[in-house]
């Protein structure tokens, strides 16, 4: 009860703001100041979601979720792995850090034929886009976090005879957590965007695919139905990670 009250207090203004925007949009569309085939009325979008809930939620949502989850897990595992590698080896760091940075400057759509070449039209091409797009914040977050360990703490543990591995486990990893979670929160949002873009590059199911198909059919309600679900999913994922963060970093948040 108290939590709900607090939540409302935090977000009420934003919710009111959103509501006003929706009402404004509804008015603009209904009065034909904006053509409905470009921005649909919010009510039509809701109607469209309800009418098509079966394909949307039972077919396309699970497909996107699967790509997203596989991609996100790979990005986390790979990103953390790379960060740890860079942390332990200057050579790995100097070789790959600039490459990771530069990989962010290449517009992904330009690389789509390469994905097709490597992965064909399997789920892996979407996973690849997801990974590529969400990899960076995880690497940076984890690496910066690992490096943030105070020299004095390390000396204290070494004075007790700790090996490098036990310093890593007992000090570096917990120290890296806050920064790792900052990266993770960015990455989970990007991963969802990545899965969507991946589907645009060729897919046969998924919300991104759905929105593109609807766009091809000039059905703007359908496009926005998919976008709405994607956005809500993104908010949910972000909230989920924030929640896990609060749990794991309890020591940071109890005050």
């Amino acid at each position: 009860m108290k939590q709900i009250k607090q939540w409302l207090q935090t977000y009420s203004l934003f919710l009111i703001f959103t509501l006003i925007i929706f009402i404004l949009l509804e008015y603009l569309v209904r009065s034909e100041l904006i053509p409905a085939f470009i921005i649909p009325a919010p009510t039509s979008v809701i109607t469209s979601i309800i009418e098509n809930w079966k394909p949307l939620f039972l077919e396309h949502l699970p497909a996107t979720l699967l790509e997203f989850l596989i991609g996100f897990v790979i990005a986390v595992v790979g990103g953390v792995g790379l960060a740890v590698g860079m942390f332990f080896s200057k050579i790995v760091e100097k070789t790959l850090y600039p490459a990771v940075l530069i990989s962010q400057m290449i517009p992904i759509i330009a690389l789509s034929p390469i994905f097709v070449l490597w992965f064909g039209y399997t789920i892996w091409s979407k996973v690849a886009v997801t990974v590529l797009i969400s990899f960076f914040p995880i690497v940076v977050g984890t690496y910066d976090g690992l490096k943030s360990s105070d020299k004095e703490y390390i000396e204290l543990l070494r004075s007790m005879g700790a090996t490098r591995m036990s310093i890593f486990k007992k000090l570096n990893i917990p120290m890296a957590m806050p920064s790792f979670f900052s990266g993770l929160k960015l990455a989970i949002v990007y991963a969802l965007v990545g899965a969507t873009i991946g589907e645009w590059l060729g897919a046969s199911e998924g919300l991104g695919y759905y929105s593109r198909r609807m766009s091809g059919n000039l059905n703007s309600e359908g496009v926005f139905a998919a976008i709405t679900i994607l956005t809500l999913l993104g908010i949910l994922m972000f909230a989920l990670i924030s929640l896990i963060e609060k749990r794991v970093l309890k020591w940071k948040y109890t005050d």
Binding site: D150, L156, S159, M160, G161, L171, P174, L249, W251
Partner: protein, 248 residues
């Protein structure tokens, strides 16, 4: 337990490869059960000596021996000025960390708990360090050094960050623990009164890298009243004069 430093030298090198010979031909000895304070102006190399004894730094020349054997990492209990409690661990987890690191060190949770009880922290067993006051944190940090199980404890300005009143309490507390356990303590401080009050011997490190060994002729056990005895006051006065003429 005897700690012996023989002709120890140590030089810092910076990036530009400039050398700074901080410790030069140093000889000292700390015997079993001693409470020895190490004093000297800032930058004379007190902390460096402690790091050499822990093994965190490796001397360029000379020997550092405990019971006749060259020291290695993990041979002593070390407590730096900042408490350095890991903020994500509860107090009991913090003080037991050495037993997680050293396999041959077996300390049960019950033992740790009885220690917490002894220093008045049992109620905070499962609290996080942030929830404790400065004095409490310092006591926990001391327990952590104690629970390494080593005979020799190196304390680098452990009470430097505490306010004067809390510091007084901590000094009395430290003395009582030390007496009970028959530990050997090498103690760095800037506070001459503290050095006089606590120690059997005071080692005074000069800027020219020489070391004076000054005995403290106060009876044991010490109690706060002694702070106002002429003997302590004169000794402190004396030390002050010896240091004051040095220029940085």
């Amino acid at each position: 337990m005897t700690l012996v430093l023989k002709n120890v030298s140590y030089t810092f090198r910076n990036e530009a490869n400039q050398k700074n010979k901080v410790i030069s031909d140093l000889n000292m000895e700390v015997r079993n059960g001693d409470f020895v304070s190490l004093i000297g102006k800032s930058g004379t190399g007190k902390s460096t000596i402690l790091k050499l004894i822990t093994g965190l730094l490796k001397q360029d020349e000379g020997e550092i021996l405990i019971n006749g054997k060259a020291i290695t990492l993990g041979d002593v209990g070390y407590m730096p000025q900042r408490d350095l409690l890991l903020p994500w661990r509860t107090i009991i987890e913090n003080i037991m960390i050495a037993s997680e690191i050293q396999k041959d060190l077996q300390i049960t949770k019950d033992e740790a708990r009885s220690w917490l009880d002894r220093v008045g922290l049992l109620a905070y067993e499962n609290a996080l360090p942030d929830q404790l006051s400065g004095g409490m944190r310092q006591r926990a940090a001391f327990l952590r050094a104690l629970l390494t199980g080593k005979d020799l404890l190196l304390l680098d300005e452990p009470f430097g960050a505490l306010d004067a009143l809390t510091k007084k309490d901590m000094q009395t507390w430290l003395l009582s623990i030390w007496q009970e356990l028959n530990k050997t303590i090498l103690f760095i401080t800037h506070d001459l009164e503290e050095a006089c009050f606590l120690s059997d011997r005071i080692l005074l490190l000069h800027l020219d890298k020489t070391l004076d060994d000054i005995p403290v002729n106060l009876s044991r056990p010490r109690h706060p009243e002694m702070l106002h005895e002429m003997e302590l006051i004169t000794l402190r006065h004396n030390l002050e004069k010896r240091i004051a003429h040095e220029t940085n």
